[in-house]
């Protein structure tokens, strides 16, 4: 053990850190390791991975910068932080891209080795920012991270390239030291991850420790920091991303319903991780069917659902577009299929790795004919678990396709999740039709749901398909009256789901000057903005919609209790449009389509602007 010189330890209530470097620098890994360790020491946290679509963009370029932001705190938090307090910049491009986001006076830790003429030029720096006064408003800590990494690995059997690749662990080790976190969880992780490559494991461990001890040895830092554990409710916790939570949610529904889980899907950013997670759970009887395309992903799920499986399809915007026709088939055949759409920037290929909420209209209306489906949206990473579970419950109870909207931000972001007890989740009752007597494929129960009569059931042989059905018998019918009736019945059935939609809870007073209505992944930013505005004395309240179709029953009543309504959305105003047409009210829009989540201050400023305050300043 190196000699540890005691440094002053300052206590902070919350910190926002951003790791940034080349897309090949391992910033996502560094960030997620720091998050996991931070979760384990008991802080509340929220993360924002932000990376380019290119797997290895040309080194040193501005568009190749990959970032991972983490906000951790000793109290309850909702967002990954607006403005980082600490930036770790592994190269000039990372500094240039991220500088504008930092809070004044923020700490910038730079890898000086990469600030050479070549990298400065690629990052479009005319002069070295470390040598002029452009960073004068910040606390810049210059560290030759590459050199120190190479020194730490002197005599290593690894190639120079492999050696320098370990430098992210130096940065990680240093940050662990700076924020007083244990390095043991990452040591364990390295030992497991690289158990088949002992040389690499050894190198990463050495460099991690070198980074940690460097903090002690150097005079660069005047203090270390501590962020005390948050007072979270008692229980067992896990740090969870939205995609993992979605995977666990549908699997939990499979276990609670006793149905085998079938995932029909095609890889697409940012939804593929759900497939990756589910493909591991073979011992849960999960079939993950990586189809030849998005259409087949959905079509195979319909086939599996027809046979009596709990069928899921996962995708992102362009994939949802391809599933359109098949989704209509699931509407017509009234089969339970859950589609998880992890929204990304559009239109077309758009911004595959960036977040957006612009698929709401597509989900609600993007099919031919009158084709209603249930649409839900998750609000945080861990909420994906509950919403995925609920999507399955609804699909099975009402024999209907359900689209669950998440987005790149909550899908890749993570937060501590208090794990539910097994009994916290309800059983999901599934009644396959077995009684031959009086069986009609389109006879409906009190929920307007039709019987699920699966192949293999003797005496229930019947035919269904995409042609219009005769009411009750399910025979093909072109009768005009029947078609009108069936269109109405399908719509009524989806509307009936409202009986299971919980009433909206108001954050704030039940009436006031302004109601902020959000949906999906903007929950954290809006909540923080509303809470701060309320502290400043504004009469603003918040509701967050997780059921987009059907809408919660008490929504109209709540809206009418406020003078004005603000709808912040990461689109051009899709929910705003729906609320206007549904409730005949005016709505103030706050639109942002930059591929990034809201900063809470953006919402807070808008609230202040509407309520005539001092604009949040």
């Amino acid at each position: 053990m190196a000699e540890i010189k005691e440094k002053e330890i300052q206590s902070l209530s919350e910190v926002t850190v951003r790791f940034a470097g080349d897309s090949g620098d391992g910033m996502q890994l560094t960030g997620s390791q720091f998050s996991d360790t931070t979760a384990i020491v008991g802080n509340d946290l929220a993360t924002l991975p932000d990376y380019p679509a290119e797997i290895r963009a040309p080194a040193g370029t501005l568009y190749g910068v990959s970032g991972f932001q983490l906000h951790f705190s000793s109290s309850d938090i909702h967002t990954p932080g607006d403005n980082p307090d600490v930036l770790v910049a592994m190269n000039p491009a990372a500094l240039k891209i991220n500088l504008k986001d930092l809070r004044p006076g923020a700490m910038i830790i730079v890898n000086t080795d990469s600030f050479d003429p070549k990298n400065l030029k690629i990052a479009h720096y005319d002069t070295n920012p470390l040598e002029d006064d452009s960073l004068s408003g910040f606390e810049v800590i210059e560290i030759p991270i590459t050199t120190l990494t190479t020194n730490a690995l002197e005599g290593s059997p690894l190639s120079i390239k492999e050696v320098t690749r370990s430098k992210n662990f130096f940065a990680l080790g240093l940050m662990y030291w700076l924020f007083n976190r244990p390095i043991e969880p990452t040591i364990e992780w390295i030992q497991t991850k690289f158990k088949n490559s002992p040389d690499i494991a050894d190198a990463n461990l050495k460099v991690l420790k070198a980074g940690y001890y460097y903090g002690d040895a150097t005079q660069l830092f005047s203090a270390r920091y501590i962020v005390k554990p948050a007072a979270l409710p008692k229980g067992t916790y896990k740090n969870i991303s939205g995609n993992e939570a979605s995977a666990l949610g549908v699997l939990a529904a499979s276990l609670k319903s006793g149905l085998d889980l079938f995932l029909g899907t095609y890889p697409i950013t940012p939804a593929s991780d759900i497939l990756h997670y589910l493909s591991r759970y073979k011992n849960y009887g999960v079939v993950t069917f990586q189809a030849e395309d998005e259409i087949a992903g959905m079509a195979s799920a319909i086939g599996a659902a027809y046979g009596g499986a709990l069928a899921i399809s996962t995708t992102s915007g362009p994939g949802l577009a391809l599933k359109t026709e098949a989704t209509g088939l699931a509407v017509m055949t009234e089969l339970p299929v859950v589609i998880i759409n992890v929204q990304r920037g559009g239109p077309s290929t758009g911004l595959p790795t960036k977040t957006e909420q612009a698929d709401l209209m597509q989900s609600l209306y993007g099919r031919n004919g009158e084709s209603p489906v249930v649409v839900l949206a998750a609000s945080t990473p861990s909420d994906c678990f509950y919403m995925a579970f609920e999507a399955c419950q609804i699909a099975l109870k009402y024999m209907t396709p359900v689209i669950l909207l998440t987005d790149g931000y909550i899908a890749n972001g993570s937060e501590p999740w208090k794990l539910p007890e097994e009994n916290d989740l309800p059983e999901i009752k599934v009644n396959f039709r077995t009684e031959k007597e009086g069986f009609y494929p389109y006879e409906r129960d009190k929920n307007l749901s039709r019987p699920w009569a699966v192949p293999g059931t003797k005496g229930l042989e019947h035919r269904i398909g995409g042609l219009e059905k005769e009411d009750v018998t399910g025979n093909v019918s072109y009768d005009p009256e029947n078609h009108h009736r069936m269109v109405t019945l399908r719509a009524e059935k989806v509307q009936k789901v409202q009986q299971d939609v919980p009433d909206l809870q108001i954050n704030g007073d039940p009436e006031g000057d302004l109601l902020v209505i959000g949906w999906g992944g903007t929950y954290g930013a809006i909540t923080e903005a509303v809470n701060r505005s309320r502290k400043a004395g504004m009469k603003v309240s918040q509701i967050h919609i997780k059921h987009l179709n059907p809408l919660p029953a008490n929504l109209g009543k709540i809206i009418k209790s406020f003078k004005q309504v603000l709808v912040p959305e990461l689109n051009m105003g899709q929910l705003a449009y729906i609320l206007r047409s549904e409730y005949l009210i005016d709505v103030i829009k706050l639109s942002k389509v930059k591929g990034l989540p809201f900063k809470s201050v953006e919402v807070q400023n808008k609230i202040a602007e509407i309520l005539g305050g001092n604009n949040g300043k």
């Binding site: 666990l248 086939g303 599996a304 027809y306 499986a309 209509g328 192949p455 005496g459």
Partner: protein, 347 residues
Amino acid sequence: MENKTIDTQELQVKLTAKDFSSGQDVRWCPGCGDYSILAQVQRTFPDIGIKKENIVWVSGIGCSSRFPYYMDTFGFHGIHGRAPAIAGGLKSAHPELSVWVATGDGDLMSIGGNHFIHTCRKNMDLKILMFNNRIYGLTKGQYSPTSEKGKVTKSTPFGSVDYPFNPVSLALGAEATFVARSLDRDPKHMQEMIRKAAAHKGTAFIEIFQNCNIFNDGAFELLTNKETKPEYVLQLEHGKPLIFGVHRDKGIKLDGFELKVININEGDNSINDVLVHDEEDSNPIRAFMLAHMTDNPDLPTPVGVFRRKLKPTYDEGVWNQISHFQAKKGKGTLKDLLYSGNTWEVK
């Protein structure tokens, strides 16, 4: 209780073709080749050894795809081209079922082409009957991806300029493990092919030449007319020499990489010069050569089984993995699921 007694009796009674008729009015045009296909399926199904309730017919869109409505089995009328994908999901999730696909040349070779080749590639255990009439019937007469080049139709008034698929060759190229061809006007042969497909474990593809008497009448006349059939059709029979002709005196000889017609009674030729059909040939080259005889006007058109090969199916692979891990780790529980990995306690 009465119902139960009847059920038991039903079990003992051998099913007949009629038991596989749904009783729905069949709505194909009078004289359509599809009637024969329906009849041969209904005739063979009582004998294929599969319980009626375990049979599912899946289809796409087109005249052929009305097929499931007429069968008294489980049936799913899907959307255009997607029948193999729907059927593949069904079979993978429920391997105990016998899943059949009724499709056409437009449905399977055009809009469903991608699903078809991947179904073959994965050796999905599906039986695919493709009714090939070389025309779009339900949309009233446009050329299809199997129409011959130069085909004059409503959408190609001056003749089509593109080349057709050879469906058998495509299926072989995509590694289907059972590839056969039959004719709507040869009921016995078709029944035999259906029985063989039913017995095969893996992707079984049967191309059935089917006459559309409205939009492409007589497309297969030479192959089905009693007078011309012996000269134009070559019956592929496993282990037997490839002989055809009214007098059974013509044979197919493999000459280098060419197939040639020889008269086995002329000159030095004899039956020993004739290629013996081996549907289990591990090398697909000869099967491809047989497939491409269709494109050569100097050669007869083969019908029968081109290739049959056994290898593990997709659903077997999937469920073997599942059983392996269930045996190794035990069936997963909700508690294991949630409480595994990096967890910590807040006290």
